[in-house]
Symmetry: C2
Subunit: 298 residues, 2 copies
């Protein structure tokens, strides 16, 4: 099965207590695909400027990530600059949309036929446009953020109404639903029509909520969080990648997908950019999965 | 096996978004024993004033909680008044130590011979006095709070050095160790000599940390948290009660104890005071344990 990933592609400046990087590869489509490629054929949809370094194209090609729908246009690549004083919240220092302001995802025929779709955190208007181009996707999922919840709520609700899975962090879930109790809030989100709500809780793990079950995933106990940028995207990459490889949407598959997402996010936060994701493979992922298994099995 | 519980016994005023109670039964020894009594013979050590209502003595007697070392002296019972605006943090409005200021726990011979000991959150000086009176306890545990970490650190470290299990919430663990990463902090606490660190994370669950393993317990998904007062104590009651009933300190036993603590705390927060704890029995506990099992098994 193949997974289509739509999202940002960025050259980021990031500063954390463990150091900093300048113009490093980032963006939701990158973090997601650099994980999902371990599980299934991964295709990205995005836009970059002519400044986008050749080595990054080579990295994607070397990892068999399809870039037929990665447009290169004159101008500069999307740039985000942020700083983490602690690891719970990034302070945005600068955002330059650049060519991303012209992003209008048009899918090639192959990509319209992908079985699985992950809509990274972008404008709900664009997420909807992609959804409408898909021919017959088995499972569709979206992520979002506070900016769209407050600024484009009706369009966002339309997206949520049309996907199978909503990935959302706990603060955003409370903001979206206006409900404080996190389980009541998940129930409210469930009533917006997705089959599954995946609630991300940072250093506390995550849980999946459906009509049939609730499943809590812990975190992998990372001792040195170098840079949390992309944690949610790399979680989604592990989750959606495994789902696409399994080819069904059963309770056991979803629970395993949650654990794979947990593992892949744990690798991501151990380095800046995709430095760690570049180096790991399925064996590393399986090894951590086993450790997590012991940490919750009783 | 028998469990000895040393802690406060209080008449509390509590206000939460779900209502309020006045002079209701509370205190760490109460919340802990009203849970542990489901698993093992439970004995409390504490002090109350002559105003302590007869019905509360009857409640303890009716639940087979031993009160040989519960002193009644002239004066008023310890009183705490607090308010929860959200459920993460209580605001203390008033504390009247009253007879608790004279608490000097002296154990009867029977209690000196208890196999298991839980030292609730009281002055480390008193915790040490109790520890020294125990004849040959199999497993000893303590809880504490920020007040003692900042005000009586050397005495508290002496307590921690002499118990098998430290129960502590995550903020207090960071305060005790000066380390932000929660797993590094648990490791630092482990080096203070206990065999096991149990880190409580409120609505995010808890984890147990030893030299041999780490174990994450989720929360039971409570939809309506009425009053979080005593959550940590009722967790410890389920944990220590099950441990005492199992009679060993093996990995599987500890993991199950974590889940029992999770379940018993979930019942406690669903009502003010011990209203819910009064009504539940081992069958209710086992039913929720099964639900939790499904929520983490994959």
């Amino acid at each position: 099965m193949s997974l289509l990933i739509v999202g940002s592609i960025a050259l980021d400046n990031v500063e954390t207590p463990h150091g900093n990087v300048v113009h490093s590869l980032g963006g939701s489509a990158i973090f997601t695909s650099m994980v999902s490629k371990n599980f299934c054929k991964s295709n990205i949809v995005g836009i970059v400027g002519e400044d986008f370094p050749k080595e990054h194209f080579a990295l994607l090609a070397g990892n068999d990530i399809d870039t037929k729908d990665l447009k290169v246009i004159p101008g500069k690549t999307f740039h985000w600059s942020g700083k983490y004083s602690d690891y719970n919240k990034a302070e945005t220092l600068d955002t330059q949309l650049n060519v991303f302001a012209n992003f209008d995802p048009q899918l090639c025929e192959d990509n319209k036929n992908c079985d699985y779709l992950f809509l990274g955190n972008i404008d709900p208007v664009l997420q909807l446009r992609v959804l409408k181009q898909m021919n017959n996707a088995k499972i569709t999922a979206c992520d979002t953020m506070n900016f769209w919840i407050s600024g484009s709520k009706s369009k966002l609700l339309e997206v949520i109404n049309n996907v199978d899975i909503l990935f959302i962090n706990e603060d955003e879930l409370r903001m979206l639903t206006g409900v404080h109790n996190i389980f009541e809030a998940a129930q409210k989100a469930k009533e917006l029509n997705p089959k599954l709500i995946v609630v991300k809780r940072g250093e506390y793990g995550s849980f999946a909520y459906s009509d049939e079950f609730i499943f809590f995933a812990p975190v992998y106990p990372v001792r040195k969080v170098v840079d949390p940028t992309g944690a949610g995207d790399s979680f989604a990459g592990g989750f959606m990648g495994y789902l696409a490889s399994a080819g069904n949407f059963e309770e056991t598959t979803i629970k395993n997908a949650m654990i794979y997402g947990t593992v892949t996010a744990s690798f991501n936060v151990e380095s800046f950019s995709v430095d760690k994701l570049k180096k790991i493979g399925i064996d590393d992922i399986l090894a951590r999965k086993e450790i997590i298994e012991r940490s919750i099995r009783f």
